[in-house]
Symmetry: C2
């Protein structure tokens, strides 16, 4: 069992990115996005005020990092060379060191494809644009180049997302088991996450690497969607005490080799009312409608269109708050989106969440989220937690 | 006891930002950064592919959010008005809705100060620049305007950071208590974080809000800096088993009303060797050197310069990896920096970490981080965990 992306796959990705850059008339790529750098090199780092950049040149991959990350990058990044600069802000701005490095690679007057015109303003960073420090080069923005590669997952990637789904499911099962009237939402969330992580670490053994610094294990919890607050799709935790009659909306995942899945469930603490049953059932209907619309070759937007039609038909538009889902894998949200405005064609290997939600203000919110992969003939579910109300009822 | 920033303080901040924008000749500010929006409005949200923007006009504060965030923003944001757009990507791009909103506020040809020329590329977002959708306006970048306000903390802010330090200290004490040879780093990290969060939630009661979605409680842990890997300053967890003789580098904090502190300690699992003692003592000397250089009115860079001189004097430059520290509060790193390249004047109310580290490859890393606030006469420590080796030795 391999719990990380192989060196061979990283080399394949790099070769593809290089070929595509050439096809687009570029001499090299300069990438600043942590996700794109991770995708091509396998190097996970804490993105701080210190810029990190990857140069994909014609014949070499060079990773540009602060001194702080040198040993870490040398040990983990699939690149030909690691070049360091001292620090940010320091006496010489890192972007000037980067310009010098690009010059030494013969790229001072080159056609450069970049995912951004400089390092983004993370954690107080400020600095010049790439095009400012390399005035004789031509910098063309093409964040889509690697982003489009990221959209279609390989077998190795799907294996990590499946592994993530397994441990997200354990965390979710424990969360449900620990939840009962009187407990505080954040306590059961932490407890389920802790117990699932302990099991995961022991089951997978020393080869297991989350490759995530914000999320180093398995996790399940409520993030504030408890009782009336479940109607706030992106609520923040209020440490509420769970009460009889509450609707709860969960979230669960696990980090495996830098990859994620997403599992969310609406649950009801007994007593279950007819109102609960009605909206729960409509939510299931909306999710089923989405599943039926997923087919390779179709535009992503059709899935959202089908669900919106379902909402219209059942007079649910006052309770509509967001599109049906998003791609994911490395990021917890990635493009493309199941959204009427997204014409991207669904392709085998694309991984999506399917999570239409119904939010009834001052009453409750209802949302399941499942992760699936588009296949040649339709899709395959990657999450597998029961979806029905009976299975998701907490004893009151 | 108040565990959040008051409405009055938010109104004061807004008045200041508005006055400063006017002084700089701007008719309004348009802000896209989640940290700056939180600072002015108190609204914490999950930043996704859906743009959120705050308009600080001459006489009103308008928050522009996706439909998803409407009820949430109405309930929590200190603004005059919440205006929504349906979704991203949707059929009409949100930036066009934003342009329309700015037009309706009479700002179509205005002087606009902005913290970025459009929404950053978060979670697969793509879109036009603000200056593209408002071609008759003049957009000037001034991310520093609010950033400079954020640099100097008020009494209300310091109270939240002090509260954070208290619970970070508990998590850290539990982490130390649970650590012994044979345990897995991520297990004790999760266990300490869980137990500290339970205590915190019960001690502070229902008024406690972390106002953080990635970090909803107290936390302490190792993040990979265990044994030889402690020499990698920004390591990622490998779920290592802790062994006799290991050096460990911890990290602890808690989210309180959207504010954070930072506490880190080097610890040694017995038996403690002379080599441990030597580098531990030098690390303490470097931190003391930094403390001595902190004085209001001086440039931030002097603190780093003093510590680098200490490193030179003790032949430690081969083990130097990063500057001395960074401001913090809302962000886990904020500008300015204790870095030779930062000439910002230290001012009373600025909150910094002080964390010079010594990293000896293939042996161990040594770093304490403490959070302090600059005062009229020097500084006041906000973290208070023992710093000496004896207190930080784990029985072998």
């Amino acid at each position: 069992m391999r719990l990380f992306i192989s060196r061979e796959e990283h080399l394949r990705r790099t070769a593809l990115a290089r070929a595509e850059a050439r096809r687009r008339g570029q001499d090299a790529l300069v990438l600043f996005s942590p996700a794109q750098i991770f995708y091509l090199t396998g190097f996970v780092f804490i993105a701080t005020e210190r810029p990190i950049a990857l140069i994909v040149a014609g014949d070499s991959m060079v990773l540009f990092v602060p001194r702080l990350e040198e040993d870490h990058a040398v040990a983990h990044a699939v690149v030909d060379r690691v070049v360091t600069y001292p620090e940010y802000p320091a006496e010489t701005h890192p972007m000037l060191h980067l310009a010098e490095l690009l010059g030494s690679l013969g790229l001072e007057r080159a056609q450069l494809g970049a995912d951004g015109d400089g390092y983004p303003g993370i954690m107080g960073y400020r600095g010049p644009r790439l095009s400012e420090v390399l005035p004789d080069a031509s910098v063309r923005l093409m964040r889509d180049l690697v982003e489009e590669m990221i959209m279609v997952k390989s077998e190795e990637e799907l294996a990590l997302i499946r592994e993530s789904a397994r441990w997200g499911n354990l965390a979710h099962a424990l969360l449900q088991e620990y939840t009962r009237p009187g407990v505080i939402e954040s306590e059961v969330s932490h407890r389920a996450s802790y117990d699932a992580t302990v099991a995961m670490v022991r089951a997978l053994g020393p080869q297991y690497r989350p490759l995530s610094w914000t999320f180093p294990g398995a996790r399940a919890g409520y993030r504030g969607q408890v009782g009336k607050q479940s109607a706030i799709a992106h609520a923040m935790t209020t440490n509420a005490r769970i009460q009889a009659g509450d609707v709860l909306v969960t979230g669960a995942s696990a980090a495996v080799g830098g990859y994620y899945s997403e599992l969310e469930r609406a649950m009801v603490v007994a007593p279950v009312t007819d109102e609960h049953r009605k909206f729960f059932s409509l939510m299931l209907g909306a999710q089923d409608t989405a599943f039926e619309a997923i087919r390779p070759g179709r535009p992503c937007g059709e899935v959202d269109r089908a669900v919106r039609a379902f909402f219209e038909k059942h007079d649910l538009m006052p309770y509509w708050r967001h599109h049906v889902g998003h791609a994911m894998g490395i990021g917890i949200h990635e493009a493309p989106f199941f959204d009427i405005g997204d014409a991207t064609e669904m392709l085998p290997g694309m991984v999506f969440t399917v999570e239409p939600g119904i939010y009834v203000p001052e009453f409750a919110g209802f949302r399941h989220s499942d992760t699936l992969v588009v296949t040649e003939s339709g899709f395959e579910m990657l999450t597998y937690c029961p979806r029905d109300l009976e299975s998701l009822t907490i004893a009151g």
